[in-house]
């Protein structure tokens, strides 16, 4: 199969929607074909396979496809096309001195298709269009942010014309946002980063305001805090949103995504009417929970590292290992938090972060 043929098939699968059968044979065939193309066309990935003793001809199942830890995206251009063919590059968040991971794309067709299919299914299951109020910068202001791109793309496909973002390069319009929220008469989709919601909750508390947003309103929060706000647990954040904005917890959805992946994961709360912290895996993606020491699946009920196999990642690598601890559950997975490996290392903790902070030499 050529890459174009694979992409056509994956696009067709995505077009069937998130409720399409998660056909294992179909996934196997496409994943193996894609792996061979990526192994051939991606020298850094080839080096990784060789270092870990993986011979491509011996890979007979998608489960044998070597995954690339997300940190490796900081080290090399993991793409199967030449740099001049790059259409868009998304980078992981970080300061200007940090080494940042990057996902290079030479087509947005699969990225967009996966993004819109899942966003529509999990955040707009009951509406064709809804007004978006976004607590993240626009894609024009943050061109390398996959999150800003996602919001903008979803807004274009699913938003009403009066949708808008309230965060800008120079700050955010908290007064305008609070006034807007206080005067809402129709349901909205309020979407943004977790730390932006913390700032919003703090702003409401400072004003001693408690709102009840119109019925049908839904909230989508994503991402961690990354030192940009006081850290809250999921329960505290969702509880705060429910209490200060008057949005029931079953209408608050956490999205789990990463810059290095073409697809995102959502909770199905809005589809089922029941609050859930289980992330649903779309049919064109597989998620495993691995023991990083053995690279075998952990026993059912055990925690391990989340590894995603995403057929929408045609131009880079389809198998990406996260730095997140997770648990497989029926229909998806739960994210239990970031891996923290440094407890036993005491004062040598975060040496890599020190290196990043002190400026890259390369």
């Amino acid at each position: 199969m050529t890459r174009a043929e694979i992409e056509r098939e994956v696009l067709a699968w995505i077009a069937e929607g998130v409720d399409a059968p998660a056909d294992d044979a179909r996934f196997e065939r496409l994943a193996l074909a894609l792996f061979r193309i990526q192994h051939t066309g991606n020298a850094p990935y080839r080096r990784l396979c060789a270092a870990f003793g993986v011979e491509p001809e011996r890979v007979r199942s998608w489960r044998q496809i070597p995954s690339v830890p997300a940190g490796a995206f900081k080290e090399a251009r993991l793409a199967i096309f030449p740099p001049e063919a790059t259409l868009r590059t998304f980078r992981t968040s970080g300061s200007s001195t940090d080494a940042r991971g990057a996902l290079h794309l030479d087509t947005l067709a699969l990225y967009d298709a996966s993004l819109v299919a899942t966003f529509a299914a999990f955040l707009c299951p009951d509406v064709e269009r809804i007004r978006f109020l976004v607590l993240a910068p626009s894609a024009a202001e943050a061109p390398d942010s996959s999150l800003s791109y996602m919001f903008e793309r979803a807004m274009r496909e699913l938003g009403t014309p009066d949708s808008r973002s309230f965060v800008h390069a120079e700050g955010w319009d908290v007064d305008i946002l609070v006034a807007e929220l206080a005067s809402l008469e129709a349901k909205v989709l309020l979407a943004g980063t977790a730390f932006a919601f913390v700032h919003l909750l703090d702003a409401l508390e400072a004003r001693r305001m408690t709102l009840t947003l119109p019925a049908g309103t839904r909230v989508m929060e994503t991402g961690g805090f990354k030192g940009r706000a006081r850290e809250l647990t999921r329960d505290e954040l969702h509880g705060g949103i429910a209490q200060r904005l008057g949005v029931p917890r079953a209408r608050i959805v956490n999205q789990y995504g990463m810059c290095e992946l073409g697809s995102q994961f959502y909770e199905a709360s809005l589809r089922t009417g029941v609050a859930s912290d289980c992330k649903v895996v779309p049919p064109w993606v597989r998620t495993r929970v691995l023991d990083p020491a053995t690279l075998f699946d952990v026993a059912p009920g055990d925690t391990g590292v989340l590894v995603h196999y995403d057929l929408a990642n045609t131009g880079s690598v389809l198998a990406v290992m996260t730095s997140d601890l997770g648990l497989a559950v029926d229909g998806g997975f739960r994210v239990l938090g970031r891996l923290r490996g440094a407890e036993a290392r005491g004062c040598s903790l975060a040496a890599d972060a020190l290196l990043d902070a002190s400026g890259a030499m390369r």
């Binding site: 020298a43 850094p44 990935y45 080096r47 990784l48 060789a50 270092a51 870990f52 003793g53 690339v68 830890p69 997300a70 940190g71 490796a72 900081k74 080290e75 090399a76 993991l78 023991d291 990083p292 020491a293 925690t303 391990g304 590292v305 290992m321 730095s323 601890l325 891996l339 923290r340 490996g341 440094a342 407890e343 036993a344 290392r345 005491g346 004062c347 040598s348 903790l349 975060a350 040496a351 890599d352 020190l354 290196l355 002190s358 400026g359 890259a360 030499m361 390369r362």
Partner: protein, 388 residues
């Protein structure tokens, strides 16, 4: 806290000679052949292999004698001084000798100790306190293990280990004008000059990489190796791989946590995808990784028996490499610099290092070392300047 009052009372037993004798006897118990204390620690410690506990504790405590303690006290403390009644010691990490010395030093200065053990190693401090009680119950009574954070506010002095964030958070709780010794983020490296046979250097370096499984801030995060003549760094990297493989038999690595395994996997993957690197890995699952870098790049810092060998051709290259690490550089392990050692020392201290030691001894600091450039006892006590 009533516990602190009891400790302050127990402090009366901390007369210098008695304390020195008790500490020296406790250290002797720990390093004695067939020490039951070491055996207990090996059984109860969840991070390291029994062989690691055996070798690590014995080697680290080799010079921790009554003479060393007496000399340290004489060097650091004046005739007239006031020691804290009780020092809160907030431990971090998992390396037993580090916990032992953190408890022993305030005692040597005449202060009782309230120690909080780290999550990764709740055993070492507790057993050391027990061993001290076994040799001298009165001196041992001046040590308590607990976790009450009120001690940070109520003790007369605080010693804290951990991340920079942890140190900052603890410092914020210490009352003004009270002694505070914080040991935050640090890392170390090995520098190998042209004057040593690469195979010998690799043998020594392997000890530093393997001891305590590459944990702790004295473990080399990188090995900078003179590549003159060209190919020497590669030769050393290959020999290092062989030496680490041998140590895997005699000094096996302990179990890694899920997160540590993931960290290690990521380090390996990052090295593998980086252009120009060469990975030395044993067939099958190896417990160590040696990466030969292609030039004066600074790859991610190694840990858990993962080490990058970075070739350099001139001493200035070293300064370029480690200069930006200041003030986080702790120890530089050296070999093969001959007459260039003084210049190396200048570079190291300018980059924030507080220890320059022979290769193979990086993980074995003497008891009286100036950890992070701070005297071991002097900052804890109040001195009196008497003017005529």
């Amino acid at each position: 806290m009533t516990e602190l009052a009891q400790l302050a009372d127990a402090r009366r037993a901390l007369e210098p000679e008695r304390t020195i004798t008790a500490l020296a006897r406790a250290f002797e118990l720990w390093r004695a052949p067939g020490s039951p204390w070491r055996e207990r620690l090996a059984r109860e410690h969840r991070v390291y292999s029994p062989a690691m506990i055996e070798r690590g504790v014995t080697s680290a405590l080799a010079g921790w004698t009554a003479d060393t303690l007496a000399n340290l006290r004489a060097r650091e403390l004046p005739e007239v001084f006031a020691a804290p009644r009780v020092t809160a010691v907030w431990l971090a990490g998992s390396i037993p000798p580090s916990a032992f010395s953190a408890i022993a030093l305030p005692l040597l200065a005449g202060s009782a100790v309230y120690a909080k053990t780290p999550a990764a190693d709740p055993v070492s401090a507790r057993l050391f306190a027990e061993s001290l009680r076994s040799v001298d119950p009165a001196v041992g009574a001046a040590v308590a293990i607990g976790a009450d954070e009120k001690a940070l506010e109520e003790c007369d002095a605080v010693v804290a280990q951990g991340s920079d964030e942890t140190i900052a958070a603890i410092r914020a709780r210490v009352r003004p004008a009270r002694p505070f010794l914080g040991y935050g983020h640090k890392l170390s490296l090995a520098a190998i000059g042209p004057g040593i046979d690469p195979v010998s250097a690799a043998q020594q370096l392997a000890q530093d990489v393997a001891l305590w499984d590459g944990r702790g801030c004295l473990s080399p995060a990188w090995a900078l190796v003179s590549d003159s003549p060209r190919g020497r760094a590669a030769e050393l990297a290959h020999a290092l791989a062989g030496a680490l493989e041998e140590l895997d038999e005699t000094l096996p690595r302990g179990e890694l946590s899920v997160a540590e395994s993931a960290d290690l996997l990521e380090l390996r993957a990052r090295a593998a995808v980086r252009e120009g690197t060469r990975l030395e890995l044993a067939a099958g699952a190896s417990t160590w990784t040696v990466v030969l870098e292609s030039g004066e790049v600074r790859p991610p810092a190694g840990t858990l028996r993962f080490i990058s060998v970075v070739p350099f051709t001139e001493l200035d290259g070293l300064a370029r490499f480690w200069g930006p690490l200041a003030p986080h550089l702790s120890c530089v392990g050296h070999a093969g610099f001959g007459g260039g050692l003084a210049r190396l020392g200048t570079f190291a201290v300018e980059a924030g290092a507080s220890r320059l030691c022979p290769l193979g001894r990086m993980q074995l600091p003497p008891l009286d070392w100036n950890h992070d450039g701070q005297g071991p006892l002097r900052p804890l006590v109040r001195r009196l300047d008497v003017e005529g």
